[in-house]
């Protein structure tokens, strides 16, 4: 069963492949994301984050979920040497972490409901487990940055988080929080690993760090990265899996 909903300002897909699956877990997962959006939306003037930024609410008083996200933001700002930061000019914007965090919560809801073969995708960030069927692993393509109908790599896995970061995604820029400038060098970044929230944060950090950031990803246990430079070269960490290529037509 596959459901697509617009939540958190983006299309979110939840795909579960158990034969007798009802839609209860999917609906619960989407409801959780809608709840998260009500807390963290930058566009909803009544969200907790909006009230924090207007000085109407303190983070410490904003409830356990906001406190937890703020704690994680501080943790990953330190872990990335400031390449990831949720604070800019005094404003709190945890969007770069909340998406991965929300996907992780959705996956946990599916797990609690017994699902072991699923894929959750939000804005190009993916948490997958198990198989889509026929005992084969899930297959995820890394899109060509210019030619949308092409994929430059196929990642094949039964248990993986995949996060992406790049230029002109949804028309907005990612700035280097340390300089306020738009990073140059990489136009598409994909980070894979065990945890979608960490992969998401690391993808943003690698995009800000540029090609030199691949060495930083090498030092993060369990994580690998594939990036495309502005000279249209693919660059990747030593452990990034080789392309699995097209599937034979009879499978």
């Amino acid at each position: 069963m596959r459901l697509v909903r617009t939540v958190m300002g983006m299309d979110v897909t939840i795909d579960v492949r158990e034969a007798d699956a009802g839609d209860t877990a999917l609906r619960d997962a989407f409801a959780d994301m809608a709840m998260i959006d009500r807390l963290f939306s930058l566009f909803d003037t009544d969200s907790a984050v909006s009230r924090i930024n207007e000085g109407r609410l303190e983070i410490d008083q904003a409830g356990p979920l906001v406190i937890e996200v703020a704690r994680l933001c501080r943790l990953y700002e330190a872990a990335t040497g400031g390449a990831f930061s949720a604070w800019r000019e005094g404003r709190f914007d945890p969007t770069g972490l909340v998406k991965g965090w929300a996907i992780d919560r959705a996956a946990a809801i599916l797990e609690r409901n017994g699902h072991r073969n699923y894929l959750v995708e939000a804005g190009g960030d993916i948490r997958l487990r198990g198989s889509p069927g026929l005992r084969r692993p899930w297959r995820v393509g890394i899109r060509h940055p210019v030619h949308r109908d092409l994929v430059v790599r196929v990642i094949s896995s039964r248990d993986l988080a995949i996060a992406t970061s790049g230029t002109y995604e949804k028309g907005d820029h990612i700035e280097d929080p340390r300089t306020g400038r738009v990073p140059t060098g990489l136009i598409s970044v994909t980070v894979i690993g065990p945890d979608i929230m960490e992969a998401d944060v690391f993808a943003t950090a690698l995009f800000v760090m540029g090609e030199a950031g691949l060495a930083w990803v090498e030092r993060q246990p369990g994580y690998e990265a594939y990036a495309i430079t502005d000279a249209m070269r693919g660059v990747w960490t030593t452990g990034f899996p080789a392309d699995t290529g097209p599937l034979p037509p009879d499978r």
Partner: protein, 132 residues
């Protein structure tokens, strides 16, 4: 107006390289193409080299039998100095090594897309040249 045409062309590429391109104001060009297939002449057309924040971009299109059959990026060059200290795996992304998303049999896609104003502008001039 031209931007709307470009969006049409990009969409057409996405759905199978059809070229439903309406002549934009100028006199229609007679070709061997059936009249309802548009007025672009066969050939390869290169757009202008456009600068933007990430470097420079130039787009080339190929028109066969009045249909847009290929869009490629001639140059997409960054001005930023790259770190030389690393020896990561690297390879140019060649079109021959990529896969059509449909034929790759994938369940989902990830990765950023690059649709800068410079790219759109260069593609627009290439389309203009095909139409002339």
């Amino acid at each position: 107006m031209r931007r709307a045409l470009i969006v049409t062309a990009l969409t057409a590429v996405g759905v199978g390289l059809l070229f439903h391109y309406q002549p934009g104001g100028g006199p229609g060009t007679a070709t061997s193409v059936p009249p309802d297939e548009g007025a672009a002449r066969d050939g390869t057309y290169t757009g202008t080299l456009e600068s933007e924040v990430y470097g420079r971009v130039q787009v080339r299109i190929v028109v066969e039998e009045g249909r847009l059959v290929d869009i490629s990026t001639v140059s997409l060059v960054g001005d930023s100095p790259h770190s030389q200290e690393l020896n990561q795996h690297a390879a140019p992304i060649l079109r021959s090594e990529t896969l059509r998303a449909q034929s790759a049999r994938i369940d989902a896609v990830t990765g950023a897309t690059y649709t800068s104003d410079a790219y759109i502008e260069s593609l627009g001039t290439a389309l203009d040249r095909a139409e002339r």
